[in-house]
């Protein structure tokens, strides 16, 4: 572990480097395993970005080649991390550890920020039992906190012609600088683009929704998908979507379908490739009727309501001022077309 200091404008800042490895007892090891496994559950695959200059890929390759020890490379990595941190990045620790995952040797890097907490200790004051409160400002990895920046590099993804791993690089709420960890520090980029992942998320979720038999539920899920895509959230989370919008019995099957489509559990949202799909909800009926409805109108209080009768038929009610009625031939839809219906 090495201490990363808050950078000072105008003068280079040096980390405070450890001079030996940190011994781990059973408790510490178990604790680290548990916290890092949970943090890495939302990691995404990354590969070397040749356009970015970074010492990290070569340093990690040297480690796996046996050219350098864990201590040596951790000191290099900490110095590099300190260099790329901006003045507004909080101080913290760089954790570099070696381990195994599913029998494969791995190297894990984690940027940890100090957290604050309090501890109560029993003492006796003037013969009376009192609980003394001690304020602690140098905690890290506390239960309930998230690890925002962590990377794992398996040995079998490191070689002379390839370099890859998995990274979590989430933006800490309120912190303006984004993604310096993956790019400036690690010299990597996500294997899958955010806009492509967003499109896959949209497409796979749409497929799931289309397979729902109950039309009222299907409409509800359709609105949910559109709401999620149009929201101000900068991340898409499969589990959050399932928890917030789907009925309990649908959540696990939905997550399983997303896993099958290789959609990461959490990733940055970029609706560039799906923008055209978000403008209207399409409803087609057996008798040939077609409705294109703004998603907002399907919500409670909107001008469009959907009811299902006992015989499985659906009633669509639109209550609004009619602005146009005319004859129309076969409808052909393309993304981006405006529709009159």
């Amino acid at each position: 572990m090495h201490l990363l200091q808050q950078s000072t404008k105008g003068s280079p800042t040096q980390p405070v480097l450890s001079e030996d490895l940190t011994p781990l007892n059973t408790e510490s090891r178990s604790f680290l395993e548990e916290r890092l496994a949970t943090a890495l559950s939302v990691a995404r695959p990354v590969t070397r970005d040749a356009a970015v200059s970074s010492v990290v890929p070569k340093t990690i390759t040297d480690y796996f080649d046996g050219a350098r020890t864990l201590l040596e490379i951790s000191q290099v990595l900490a110095t590099s991390m300190q260099d790329v941190q901006s003045g507004i990045s909080p101080p913290g620790l760089l954790l570099v550890l070696e381990g195994t995952r599913s029998g494969q040797d791995v190297l894990v890097l984690a940027k940890l920020e100090h957290e604050r907490g309090a501890r109560a200790t029993q003492t006796v004051v003037d013969g009376k039992r009192v609980y003394d409160m001690e304020f602690l400002r140098d905690l890290f990895l506390t239960t309930g906190s998230k690890v925002y920046k962590v990377a794992i590099f398996p040995r079998n993804q490191i070689g002379s012609t390839h370099f890859g791993g998995e990274v979590v690089d989430r933006q800490v709420p309120g912190h303006g600088v984004a993604h310096y960890f993956i790019s400036d520090f690690l010299g990597c980029d996500y294997t899958q683009r955010a806009d492509v992942l967003t499109e896959t998320f949209h497409k796979t979720t749409q497929q799931y929704v289309d397979a729902i038999v109950d039309p009222a539920k299907r409409a509800r899920y359709q609105v949910a998908l559109l709401s999620e895509m149009q929201s101000n959230n900068t991340e898409l989370s499969v589990r959050a979507f399932a928890t917030n919008y789907l009925d309990a019995e649908d959540r696990d099957p939905y997550v399983a379908q997303m896993n099958s489509a290789v959609v990461p559990m959490t990733f940055s949202k970029d609706i560039g490739l799906v923008r055209a799909y978000l403008e209207r909800v399409l409803m087609e009926f057996e008798n040939g009727s077609v409705a294109l409805v703004p998603p907002a109108e399907l919500r409670d209080g909107g001008s469009v309501s959907i009811d299902e009768s006992q015989d499985g038929r659906t009633s669509l009610r639109i209550e609004d001022h009619l602005t146009r009625m005319g004859s129309k031939g076969a409808l052909k839809f393309s993304p981006g077309d405006s529709h009159d219906a």
């Binding site: 408790e27 178990s30 890495l40 998230k146 696990d252």
Partner: protein, 325 residues
């Protein structure tokens, strides 16, 4: 054959009778297991002197063939309905060759002091060198019926002096007590399946057995019952689910063993609150559900009000972490 010849023959062939008794005992045990009935099986071969004594007391036209209890098997069962079930199974079974049978529990004379069980006379599996088949007496009893059988012999059938009326009346009370014992056992065992949570008992039994085999411990039953009660909605059909769980624990045995060695019973982490589930058998089903129904499990866990860190720690270290949302 004279009595002396019969005794001499019995002495010479006694090992064959021992093998025959063990063979019948094995067949009775198999039949009991097949209908999911448990009990204690014993076999015995009459002592040579006891055979000689029997021939001296009673007169037999054929001292060899007429004495059919040279060997016997007795099975003591938990309840009277188990006696009935095993009796019916043996009579129709092809594992055992039944010659005759009698349900001695049927009350022929209400004033008569009897509280025995069921007797069957069977033919043991033969050996290639046998010249004639060996018969074996099979007795099926409850523990109370067995107790009465043992005590009544010395109290009634072979007392050293005749019993006065008050003592005979006391003996009547004893037999009534043994009958009441069995009736109450039967009543209570009929009530138990109707009690809340009983439907989980096959699941708990399986988990405890598997966990003992993998982690070498049994956990705290009260906690197991609480956890299983909290997640039971995820396993609506326990009978259908058990084979899936058995397959999972079989395929993952070595990984699970490693997990419990590091974090389970007897490990340095076993006293840590967050690691509570690692010393409990229900952790097996939780790990399985974390792979198959993670979100449903998380939701059920939250509704049940159980500490989230128990589940999150188990999930993380078992390789199926709960995703941060």
């Amino acid at each position: 054959m004279t009595p002396d010849e019969a005794v001499a023959r019995f002495k010479a062939e006694r090992p064959r009778f021992e093998r025959a008794a063990q063979s019948v005992a094995s067949a009775v045990s198999s039949s009991a297991r097949a209908i999911d009935v448990t009990g204690r099986v014993t076999s015995r071969v009459k002592e040579v002197e006891s055979y000689r004594g029997k021939l001296a007391i009673k007169s037999y036209s054929d001292p060899w063939a007429d004495v059919t209890d040279k060997c016997g098997v007795r099975m003591i069962l938990e309840r009277d309905t188990d006696v009935s079930a095993l009796y019916a199974a043996l009579v129709r079974s092809d594992r055992v060759d039944v010659i005759s049978h009698e349900d001695k529990r049927q009350i022929q004379d209400p004033s008569k002091l009897e509280y025995t069980g069921v007797h069957l006379q069977v033919v043991a599996d033969g050996e290639p060198t046998d010249t004639d088949p060996i018969q074996c007496e099979v007795q099926l009893r409850t523990a109370a019926q067995d107790l009465w059988s043992v005590v009544s012999h010395s109290l009634l059938y072979k007392p050293t002096v005749p019993l006065p009326a008050t003592e005979q009346h006391a003996v009547y009370r004893l037999v009534a007590l043994t009958e009441l014992f069995d009736l109450e056992v039967e009543r209570i065992m009929t009530v138990i399946p109707t009690l809340p949570g009983y439907e989980l008992s096959p699941l708990l039994k399986f988990l405890e057995s598997e966990f003992a085999g993998i982690a070498g411990s049994v956990g705290k039953k009260a906690l197991s019952v609480s956890v299983l009660d909290g997640i039971k909605a995820l396993v609506p059909d326990v009978d259908a689910y058990l084979p899936q769980l058995a397959q999972f624990t079989s395929e993952s045995r070595e990984d699970l063993r490693s997990l419990y060695n590091q974090h389970g019973p007897g490990s340095e982490m076993s006293a840590d609150f967050d690691y509570t589930l690692f010393s409990q058998p229900e952790s097996l089903i939780l790990v399985h559900l974390l792979t198959s129904q993670p979100m449903a499990l998380e939701a059920a866990w939250a509704v049940a009000g159980m500490p989230r860190q128990w589940l999150s720690t188990l999930a993380a270290l078992a390789g199926v972490p709960l995703n941060e949302i």
